[in-house]
Symmetry: C2
Subunit: 357 residues, 2 copies
């Protein structure tokens, strides 16, 4: 692996390590996505969404597309958060307008017991192959981020059999038979450790854990069923690879109330959604971790002037100094005009220089 | 109005005023609702949802139904949060499985300018008539809560034309033409003041403002577009009526990060959803206001033992002393077994006595 080209733009990694940068680095969750016409064209070639994820060349192609348009400071592997349950044999499929679904949800103790921890080298080589190809094709332009869903987030889809409004089945399992939910979460945490370490060995230079649904829990249940397993993962990850530190970002959507606990896991950075004031978050945990975020993605439907003003407001709230990776507070949405994403990214670079003087 | 029967159970009002009580009072948001077979029967008689709201006798009947089953400490007017926009002429209707919709959404400056502040005495007498009838029928058993949606929450439905996942139209109005959104919010705040004061004069003994969608905003946008108008309402309300204090509860779902700002409006209590640790919330604002909440409503799908344990955990988190009204963190859902709601309510009374010794 050591034959990867040298990194030319390390702003993203430096910011995660709270080191000085010239301007605030920026990337967007779901930056390779449906808002880009070139993505829609490639997706049409691939067929359905999972075929695109499983096709190494096409997954690499869509990963790089947003970098051709915008001066982004990081690339993120194009994949789905549900690859792990799919590899466990649940049968992932996508129903139009319905989101992800599983043919075989996991609801009983016997079904949880029967699950095997994922062996990435055997079951998910399409992901690690894509990581290596993307890393080569990036040619050192920017770092490559690997990722996984959090155990709790994966468990909600596995127990519910798909998306859910209130997670009543997953929560009933957690509240009524916590030992069964803990067995499931433990197998998922071990799987995520194997999966992310394989991505790191394949070329990922930082990793992010997406805890999309941890914020649907109470504070106590979040600690017990989501954060404890993310902490296990943080402790099980390769944190240095071939002489480079591998930063870990935890992103719990709607987790702004729990930042102190998130920082205490030993992660390098926390992702913030837009409901958290980033200046306040920095006061609370900025001496321990970096912060990533946090513009409301819906702001991208507003005018370029409004987008620029909001970027300026967030930069000002964070203030002078290090430890900020700019991002949206959640994934970019399909109907956004690509030019508006461009205004967002350019505004971050332009308006942040003065905070790094 | 002074001929209303004397109040026999004043726990709820005492707790809102942070006075001593024998046990922690409890009620449930949406306690008159579809999880009760007797509600479904009355609703079938009324026809559609708005016909039920507009029928004084039937609205009174469903308001009282949960009190016949459970030892609740408050009743809440049965109505809809969208009565105000309906009275403004937007044409509220309900599409099966789609939630509320408006025939005439409000999207342009001209449409906002044309809106008239609601005159409750003229346009919403079906609500104040129901308040007076319920108050009489309650016969002093427990206090009656009046309510309204918050200006921002009402505005989202009015601009979007119904429910929305990301509020892109309402947010675009706020971000691109803030002066138009402010004009809309100001008319709504004046309407809510008129509406809630009319409910107070008709017999409501406390009022709650439901800010269901304030939590979808950034911290800065929440202050500007939601909280500022709730503060205007708090300042415009009748706070004492016929010798009794009228407490005001502000409930911003997903607003746990902003409690200090909510407390600073001058309200008497803040509603908490289940993501906020109530002990932590009490430390932050418990010397200024009472707190209402905050069990995850999904917990009602779990076993009676799990419900009881969770009630105990929340009571312990709040700790000894005054200023807690127990509630769910959001409305009770249609598929909950009524017996589970009963376990919840009885557990609050049973397990809280020791904290008031």
């Amino acid at each position: 692996m050591s034959d990867f080209p040298a990194l030319k733009n390390d702003r993203f990694l430096r910011a995660l390590n709270r080191e000085s940068v010239d301007v605030t680095p920026v990337w967007m969750m779901r930056q390779a996505g449906r808002y880009l016409p070139e993505y829609r064209a490639t997706r049409a070639v691939a067929g359905d969404f999972m075929s695109l994820c499983m096709n190494t060349e096409l997954a690499c192609e869509v990963t790089l597309q947003p970098l051709e348009r915008f001066p982004l400071d990081a690339a993120i592997l194009f994949s789905d958060i549900l690859t792990i349950p799919d590899a466990m044999g649940l049968g992932l499929y996508f129903e139009t307008g319905e989101g992800p679904r599983f043919h075989k949800p996991v609801r009983s103790a016997a079904e949880v017991e029967a699950l095997q921890v994922v062996n990435t080298a055997k079951d998910l080589t399409y992901v690690t192959d894509a990581v290596t190809m993307i890393r080569r094709e990036l040619n050192g332009r920017v770092p490559l981020i690997g990722f996984s869903g959090s155990p709790w987030t994966l468990a909600t889809y596995m127990v519910e059999g798909g998306s859910s409004k209130d997670f009543r089945r997953a929560k009933a399992m957690a509240f009524d038979t916590p030992e069964v939910m803990h067995m499931l979460l433990d197998k998922l945490a071990d799987s995520v450790i194997d999966y992310l370490n394989a991505q790191i060995r394949a070329g990922a230079q930082a990793v992010q854990i997406f805890d999309t649904w941890g914020g649907a829990l109470s504070h106590a249940a979040y600690q017990e069923f989501s954060l404890a397993y993310m902490e296990k993962i943080v402790n099980g990850l390769i944190r240095e690879h071939e002489g480079h530190k591998i930063p870990v970002i935890l992103f719990t959507k709607n987790g702004g109330q729990w930042l102190e606990a998130i920082a205490a896991t030993g992660c390098d950075a926390a992702g913030l959604d837009w409901t958290t004031d980033i200046g306040n978050a920095r006061q609370r945990v900025g001496s321990q971790i970096a912060l990533q975020g946090n513009m409301d993605p819906t702001m991208l439907y507003a005018s370029p002037a409004a987008i620029r003003a909001e970027v300026g407001r967030i930069l000002q709230s964070f203030g002078d100094g290090n430890g900020h990776v700019f991002n949206l507070g959640h994934g970019i949405t399909p109907d956004v005009k690509p030019e508006h994403a461009g205004v967002f990214i350019e505004s971050v670079h332009e308006l942040s220089a003065k905070y790094h003087a």
